[in-house]
């Protein structure tokens, strides 16, 4: 695994640590802030106020909620499989944090520049499914079990299309290194040539993040709270934070792979990156505000009958174009 820096090389250990730590703190803070953002945005779209009492614009509501969650009894149901029950929420946080490690925020900012960054991201997001399955299984609760079953099927299926959708980008850029993929978009963002890849990736990304309309493992109207029915306090908080980090990761990947990452005129690179991520996040929240939830078998049928052919066709056409271009040039 090699390190390649764009611009200033990230050489010294201290600088690398500061970089990683800064991103970690920023990411966790952003995830917490997102709770407020989502509640306020949903409220805006649903014709109500949302949290507006604690602190300016209700900003401290999250802090109050966190204090509450920290001081709640750390309880494990007596019928649960305790070690696995405790492990499951950690998996989701660690895997989503891990996935973010390869995201290049801007020249010189980023935890790690792996030359197989894209594969690392896919591997990490695949690990997330363990969290859902283990939580559902260890809870020893029928609703949790049904949620876990749905989660396993949904996330495993949509992972396939997610990977396939990204291969078009890899073919175009000729690399798995995310920083190089961004640089390869200097002239044209991949959202144009890889439009179908983008669509499939966004859909699969929502499914991976288990957000409405693909929140079937949770499906509060049907399965109470699905796989995390038995969770409370800090462990539930971890699922919560994990979900929001998941949204940030997917939005960051959409920005990086299809919208030219930090590239953009005028503003500093990091600002461009953050703006693009913010738009992605707002889109996720807007989806939640506007769509109902499909049925489990409809979701699977949609994945295998629509998403998979689109992803494959996209891959084949991209391959042909790349080959033709190489042959012609």
């Amino acid at each position: 695994m090699g390190r390649r820096g764009e611009g200033k090389p990230v050489s010294s250990l201290a600088q690398g640590l500061a970089n990683a730590f800064g991103i970690l703190v920023g990411l966790l803070g952003l995830a917490a802030g997102l709770i407020w953002v989502e509640r306020r945005l949903l409220a805006l779209w649903q014709d109500r106020y949302g949290p507006n009492r604690v602190g300016p614009f209700g900003l401290l509501q999250v802090v109050a909620d966190m204090i509450k969650i920290f001081f709640k009894d750390d309880w494990v149901p007596p019928f649960a499989d305790a070690p696995v029950f405790v492990l499951a929420p950690m998996v989701i946080v660690l895997s989503t944090l891990g996935a973010f490690a390869v995201v290049p925020l801007a020249p010189g900012i980023g935890v790690s520049d792996l030359n197989i960054g894209l594969l690392f991201f896919l591997a990490m997001s695949s690990l997330g499914v363990y969290s859902v399955i283990l939580a559902g299984w260890a809870s020893n609760n029928k609703y949790a079990l049904l949620g876990a079953l749905r989660g396993a099927a949904q996330m495993l299926s949509y992972e396939v299309f997610m990977g396939l959708a990204l291969m078009g980008v890899v073919l175009e850029a000729g690399t798995f290194d995310l920083r190089s993929i961004v640089i390869a978009q200097r002239h044209l963002w991949y959202c144009v040539p890889q439009f179908f890849g983008l669509v499939v990736f966004v859909v699969a990304g929502i499914a991976e993040a288990r957000r409405l309309p693909f929140d079937l493992p949770e499906a509060e109207a049907e399965l109470v709270a699905g796989f995390h029915t038995e969770y409370s306090g800090l462990k539930f908080g971890l699922f919560f934070v994990g979900e929001y980090i998941g949204i940030i990761v997917i939005s960051a990947m959409i920005a990086t792979l299809f919208f030219g990452g930090w590239l953009g005129p005028g503003l500093p690179p990091i600002a461009w990156f953050l703006v693009k991520v913010a738009v992605g996040i707002a889109f996720f929240i807007l989806l939640r505000a506007s769509l109902p939830r499909p049925r489990y078998d409809q979701l699977m049928a949609y994945g295998w009958k629509v998403m998979l052919p689109v992803a494959l066709a996209n891959l084949a056409v991209t391959g042909a174009v790349v080959v033709a271009r190489a042959g012609g040039g």
Partner: protein, 589 residues
Amino acid sequence: MRAPESPVDRDDGIQAQFEAEFGPGVARPQATRDEVPTFRVDANRVKPVLRFAKCGMARPYPMLYDLTAIDERERVHPDADPPADFTLVYHLLSFERNADLRIKVPLQGDRPSLETVTDLWPAANWYEREVWDMFGIGFPGHPHLVRLLMPPTWVGHPLRKEHPARATEMAEYRLPPEREDAEQAALKFRPEDWGMRPASGRSEFMFLNLGPNHPSVHGVFRIVLELDGEEIVDCVPDIGYHHRGAEKMAERQSWHSFIPYTDRVDYLGGVMNNLPYVLAVEKLAGIQLPARVQVIRVMMAEFFRIASHLVFYGTFAQDVGALSPVFFMFSDRERVFDIVEAICGGRMHPGWFRIGGVAQDLPQGWDRLVAEFVRYFKPRLDHYDRMVMRNAILKKRTQGVGRYSLEEAIEWGVTGPGLRACGFAWDFRKARPYSGYEQFEFDVPVATHGDAYDRCLVRVQEMRESLRIIEQCLAHMPAGDYKARHPLTTPPPRERMLHDIETLIDHFLGVSWGPVIPPGEAFANVEATKGANGYYLISDGGTMAYRARIRTPTFAHLQMIPLISRGLMIADLIAILGSIDFVMADVDR
């Protein structure tokens, strides 16, 4: 099939038909104060008579509309012939005739029993269980005759006259650990009791207890699911968690003071619940209503239809996973409540109708409020169409889900939007206009597929029709009294009180004891928010009802859930529950 437009058929050829089939004296007519032909039939001949009424006679009565009983043992004015200890009442409905038929069966003895009719009408299942639960009347041949509304450990049968009506008449309630354990054990679900097997072939089934507390069961309602993966093999609805004994309370409240209890039966229906009750009392008392009272009542009932349908609309969308619509619809419902509050003083449960009128006249400026709402609400409904009804995911989730045919609907006693969603334009407001509905112009929306989506579609259209009715009330509100000038109007009009000692005494008694309603029985029915809601009242010439039977629509609707959800998935069941539109207080009473 189209609803007949003819007025209620009181043709007495029914008796002749019975006698031609079974010989003279089989059905003895009884006079009542309502328009329902009523016959007494002896216990040993009732089953063939019912079968004949359902399938044999010309223009038959296909729907078992209600089945209940009366404890006759404390009647001051007994009218049973021959004298009976209990009377079973079968209430049948014919759409072809646009008429009802009441068959009463006198029963003797402390614990009588009568052969079941569950083989004639599957819907009789819960009704017979309820009669067993409430009166201790047995039904040999019933597939599973156990308590329905009361806890399985309950001692006694509450609607029998010897059963206490109040906690103060009963022994102190204690719950020592042994008893708590026994109560818990009694609630345990044993699949074998319900004819379910824990496994079939190679699949082992999972039993999932959905409710009594679950986000999507709209109250305290329990369904035990037999699952193969996520597919529902079979299910058992379990009701009674919201049972508050409204019918027993009616026997201990004055005719007047029972009105607020009716509000809480369908707690989303507000004064719509008052309407059938006061209509039935007015039939017993023989009160003629001023036109203004009728129009005010219609207007308020239609406002509550809108309010109730809005809750349905939002929660239906939410059950299918759409988060936002419910907020819009609840804030619109709030606007309805603002008007209700301005007119009645209360919001969800105004208890505002009175025997012979309404509580107050309309306040000044009511017309401005109503006009504003009508103007505001029409475009909102179009907006919601785009948001909910035309959403592709919602359509995929609900179209073809929870289907039943018109025949099944009639067989199971389905009324209201659930019946109209099968393509049958049957609306009691049109078929048997009450409270002056014949003077209003409105259409009866129908849909054709009988699925969850169509049940929602019908309700959405009904809100538009309700708006039309409200607009007509606004344009043509008659002047006049808001209470009938009748001695039994309660409370009596105040301006007639202070003339002399006679009017004062009359007023005092009417307010303190409440009115004394002449003996007799009457049934009144309205097209309520969720279907047909009827009150069957029996007066023994007292200040309280001798027996008050509340026929609610959703009781029948919940009973058919297993029929329409077998072979579907859990998510479909949630959509079906949402589409039925029930509140448990309406089911359990």
